[in-house]
């Protein structure tokens, strides 16, 4: 589970907020690793290479979609949606995934769970719309894990 985003730019940081909330609310079973990847690029190569499954949570801009909308991209969809072109970032996730392919260490499956941001203004807080979608986002993450046979349990109070 990799949360990506810039914590200083409000909704841009939703991926990082999501993994933090996930760790706070759930016991993570063995075999699941959760990481705040920030806005790193090639630093993530070692983390992504050779994994069975990678689930990425990130802000995703989508024309016409309301803030807080969840979008899921899988396998080839990710490449179709984002591929065959340069990333606007230093070295985006796709570049790192490409690098794992070149090394013959591509992860088995990759899913990107995207959240449509309301704004990317300077600030540490999520917008109201994206904050309100956090529960649904965590549920989506739990479903995703359940689909590969991993059941999350809430922390005992």
């Amino acid at each position: 589970m990799l949360g990506l985003g810039n914590l200083l730019l409000s909704d841009e940081g939703v991926g990082v907020h999501a993994v933090t909330a996930l760790r706070e609310r759930y016991d993570l079973p063995d075999g699941v690793e959760v990481l705040d990847g920030g806005t790193a690029g090639m630093d993530l190569l070692d983390i992504i290479a050779g994994r069975d499954t990678i689930i990425v949570v990130d802000a995703v801009r989508r024309e016409g979609a309301a803030a807080g909308t969840l979008l899921t991209f899988r396998g080839d969809d990710i490449r179709a949606a984002f591929g065959a072109r340069l990333s606007p970032h230093q070295l985006g996730l796709l570049d790192v995934l490409a690098a794992t392919s070149l090394l013959g260490e591509a992860p088995g499956a990759v899913t990107v769970i995207g959240v449509v941001p309301a704004h990317l203004d300077l600030g540490l807080e999520l917008s109201a719309a994206v904050a309100a979608s956090l529960d649904a986002l965590l549920a989506r993450i739990a479903d995703e894990l359940a689909s590969i046979g991993i059941v999350l349990r809430k922390h005992r109070p």
């Binding site: 730019l9 841009e12 090639m42 630093d43 995703v60 340069l86 970032h89 490409a98 392919s101 990107v112």
Partner: protein, 563 residues
């Protein structure tokens, strides 16, 4: 004819470059940061002990550097000494991060400006391996490895996956390398992916986490040292660090430095374009004492023309502290005159792109009212001027390889160029590897003496204090400036390397280093201005703003407009 490239690179941040082209050459240039950097505002009213945690989120590429320089700035304001173990651990993180950054910059971010991947398919692997072996005794220059990589490349092309190499400029008329050298570079491109991981691992072990290290503190580091306890910095972990340092040293000396020298020799024109601003600024690095008055690598001001050299000597250096100003005359901020960073203001005033007015979100820094180029070239020139022997040794070796491939001696003045910046970066990377080993030895020796101290507790006085921290980061001089009142931050400014290099015209309308370096660059095909990209990439551009949002609906993000 006007060419606009927006954004210019697979880099952090949004940089737009405009060039006027006449007679196949660049005749005027503008460098424009397309995103507002107001991140310093987030630090106002915060506890200075926490500033580094936020500062390292400024940029996704340079995370550690902003963290390091932030604690240095606060320690400088307090006059706080830092224990030796903490200095050494920080120094190793700095060096390993920079080595990672330099390797990735050359191979993954800019080699394909010079190397034609498609041409590598027609290389003779035996001949390519023979050339590689004549240049270096790197054990992985075998015919078998070269042939295997070529086959892998053929598979990628056959399955339509060449896109994994990004959008290369294969087939461009400015590509000049023979197929065998292209294959050699592709082999090393793949090896670089493996070796940069070893540097990341060093940062991760020492910084407790990568990306975004967790181990810093104002006053030291939070790594408890106990060679036997599993939860701390143990002998086993340190041994892993040592092993990775040694493997990286081989890669940097036998592959990276050699490849850059060979490519520079095969593009001799590009050691004559791209000098730009030849007034150079760098700072010393790797403090060896608790106060930051002794450093293992020199830094200083190599003045333009025959202006001489002024060393920068300590973390309290007045010459550095007093020399820096930023002008907003051509940037989208209000403010009529250049300001010192302690008095810096960040009031946006957007006007649209005006050729003769304001056209960038980046301010224009000056050092004693002159533009300065920063980065590994600036630092290598300072280290050589200061007589630093390890730098001279690596530079001599670099020049010898380049001259041998070229067939006659290349002058040192060739460093003031587009490929000179790549060369200096490779030389500095070799110096950093030596430092990484030395800092490791210093740490082990100090622990061996029974010194386990890693932290001095900061105490904030009532009233106002101010301080600055500097750091010779992979892209050059980075400085943070802070004013603290009653234990809270009241002003915080970051003057980042790419601000020095990518800044717009200054108060006197003088061009910044990117702009000046583009002048007179040849342009073979205005629709595919590879030459512009070569020169800007040679600075290792990064606009430190770290927006990295996915934009699936956005059309191809790089647009080149010619009008």
């Amino acid at each position: 004819m006007r060419i606009t490239v927006d954004p210019i690179t697979r880099i952090e941040g949004h940089l737009r470059i405009d060039c006027d082209v006449d007679g196949g050459k660049v005749t005027n240039a503008w460098s424009s940061g397309q995103m507002w950097r107001g991140i310093e505002l987030i630090l106002k009213d915060r506890d200075p002990r926490d500033a580094w945690v936020f500062a390292q989120r400024i940029c996704g590429v340079c995370t550690t550097v902003h963290a390091i320089v932030s604690v240095r700035a606060v320690e400088n304001a307090l006059g706080l000494e830092v224990p030796l173990n903490a200095q050494y651990i920080r120094n190793m993180i700095i060096a390993a991060h920079a080595v990672h950054d330099h390797i990735v910059h050359f191979y993954q971010l800019s080699a394909l400006d010079w190397v034609d991947i498609v041409s590598a398919l027609s290389a003779d692997p035996a001949k390519a391996a023979q050339i590689a072996q004549s240049l270096s005794d790197w054990p992985r220059n075998s015919v078998q490895e070269f042939a295997a990589v070529q086959n892998k490349l053929k598979d990628f092309v056959a399955s339509g996956q060449l896109g994994v190499f990004g959008s290369g400029y294969w087939g461009h008329p400015a590509m000049k390398l023979p197929p065998e050298i292209n294959l050699l570079a592709v082999v090393h491109y793949l090896q670089a992916l493996e070796y940069q991981r070893k540097a990341t691992l060093i940062v991760g072990v020492l910084g407790s986490k990568s990306p975004h290290i967790q181990n810093l503190a104002v006053g030291g580091v939070a790594n408890p040292i106990n060679l036997d306890s599993q939860s701390t910095l143990t002998l086993e972990r340190l041994e892993k660090v040592r092993h990775n340092i040694s493997e990286l040293t081989d890669f940097v000396n036998k592959v990276y430095l050699v490849d850059v020298a060979a490519i520079a020799a095969l593009y001799p024109d590009w050691t004559t374009y791209g000098a730009g601003v030849t007034n150079y600024l760098s700072v010393p690095e790797f403090p060896l004492d608790t106060k930051g008055t002794q450093f293992s690598l020199p830094g200083g001001h190599v003045k333009g023309g025959a202006g001489g050299y002024q060393a920068i000597a300590s973390f309290n250096d007045k010459y550095f502290e007093d020399g820096v100003k930023e002008s907003s005359k051509h940037a989208w901020y209000s403010g009529a005159r250049p300001l010192h960073p302690y008095d810096g203001e960040t009031e946006p005033k957007f006007t649209g792109f005006e050729d003769k007015g304001k056209y960038s979100w980046v301010k224009a820094p000056t050092f004693y009212d002159e533009r300065a180029q920063v980065g590994p070239l600036a630092n290598v020139l300072a280290m050589v001027t200061a007589g630093h022997e390890p730098t001279k040794k690596h530079l001599d070796r670099f020049m010898a390889i380049a001259s041998a491939v070229y067939g006659s001696p290349l002058p040192l003045t060739a460093l003031h160029s587009t490929l000179g910046r790549h060369g200096a970066r490779a030389v500095r990377c070799a110096v950093l590897q030596d430092e990484l080993s030395q800092q490791y030895d210093l740490l082990m020796a100090n622990i061996g003496k029974g010194d386990y101290t890693t932290f001095n507790r900061p105490v904030f006085p009532r009233g106002e204090i101010r301080g600055f921290g500097f750091h010779e980061a992979p892209r050059g001089v980075l400085s943070h400036w802070t004013v603290i009142r009653n234990g809270k931050i009241v002003n915080y400014q970051a003057v980042v390397p790419s601000t020095w290099n990518a800044g717009p015209r200054d108060q006197n309308d003088k061009m910044g280093p990117y702009e000046a370096s583009l002048m007179d660059n040849p342009i073979a095909d205005p629709e595919r201005p590879l030459e512009v990209i070569r020169t800007v990439h040679s600075f290792d551009p990064c606009l430190a703003c770290a927006i990295h949002l996915f934009e699936p609906d956005r059309p191809t993000p790089i647009t080149v407009t010619v009008r």
